[in-house]
Symmetry: C2
Subunit: 247 residues, 2 copies
Amino acid sequence: MARASGERVEEGHVDAGSERASLTREQIVETAISLVDREGVGALSMRRLGGLMGVEAMALYRYVDGREDLLDAMVDAVTAPVESVAAGPADARWGGWRGYLWRLAHYMRDLATKHPNIFPLVATRHPAAPWLRPPLRNLDMVEEFLDTLLNSGFSQQQAAMVYRTFASFLLGHLLLTAAQEADQGQLHQERPALEDLGDFPRIQAMEEWLSDPGADLEEFTDSLEDLLEAIAAHVGEPRADANGSTD
Amino acid sequence: MARASGERVEEGHVDAGSERASLTREQIVETAISLVDREGVGALSMRRLGGLMGVEAMALYRYVDGREDLLDAMVDAVTAPVESVAAGPADARWGGWRGYLWRLAHYMRDLATKHPNIFPLVATRHPAAPWLRPPLRNLDMVEEFLDTLLNSGFSQQQAAMVYRTFASFLLGHLLLTAAQEADQGQLHQERPALEDLGDFPRIQAMEEWLSDPGADLEEFTDSLEDLLEAIAAHVGEPRADANGSTD
DNA sequence: GCAACGAAGTTTACAGTGTAAATAACCGCG
DNA sequence: CGCGGTTATTTACACTGTAAACTTCGTTGC
């Protein structure tokens, strides 16, 4: 019954084409992601999601094992394609470790700006293992990360250190980028008049320098380059010229 | 009535001494903080909090204006004392800007380890102004921060840049520190067997280097020193010796 | 054909949530 | 005493996640 007559599902056009489509874990996760992208995690409820897929809420439980599991699955889904985009196996060494880290950083930044409402989840949910540090919590990706570094002459200890440092760097910058992107998207909610700053002359004087949201990418890039330089210095690499050819 | 006879409030010994005590916004926020410290934000509900204070849930609404406001107030309360601890007005220039940033960083780290369940809120909630960057979102503190830097010879543009960079640095490192501290506290919940890593030789080989949770403080300190060095370099300061005396 | 089976989705139910609105208990003051 | 104001309680409602029973349906074995 249910979907037979004109019962007005919320907006979900399931597919109506192939055969019967039924439900899929991937479709559920995908729909949930798009909902959260549009309206934030607060808007994600099982009943609402069910409505979007033209199905009762409880039907989802055959595939997702509860809301928490769904959130984890969303995080995994969003961070999964990184290994095939940031640095596929073919060109993993193109540009050496610097090139690899550069591409990875910018891929993660894209992710944060595309899913600003989901990124806090990526940053905040406990990863499966305690040494897996957000936002770099995809096993395939971490494996490739370490592989690239070890192949570039880093010791195991150094590679682990770089992994941690790099993760912290991304976490800090991208969480801010995402937050900023998020309230840009949320059709300017009530800016509460911004207390008058009379007691804060320094802040008042510097407000223009502190704002400047357009500078975010530039700041990210600059900081990234500083970080790469610092890594190179710690590791004893000559200098730069962006090509650490190891083969 | 309510608190008169033996009605078994959850555990809240309000004060039982002074006069009647009634309710206070500060007490509410304090109790909420201690609850979240013990059991995580998931455990904070208005009814539960009311129970802890020997009062019905709706009584809180005269003081906190809803759950969201309560969470904001908790974040503010937790990050407020920074100006009097990290660097009071008297010794704000002791050790120059390096000393100031050093003390501030360690104060914030203490905060993250003392309130690991609250720190994600500090990191994640939108600040009042868009240019106020977590976790440095206290106006008094930011004012002092900028003042210290400007008094140490930084230009306005440079000071703003340092503020942003420093905030990103803290956010990245402390969120990880807090997460780690948090699941140490949560009486080891089911570690789900940790998929066997057969497909990840690199990770498997380096697991010992990747774990090592004791190294967190050392890593933080090292990274902090790198950051201070980088700032000094960008600003054209001679070198180090931890005393940028400007007077 | 037909009964049995398993899977997919629905119904019903329950305990818990935040919070708006009306109500009651208390205080000092006239 | 009554009156008014502050504080806390009561009641109510819409919503949440999810356990358990139930219906519906396509497939398979005989």
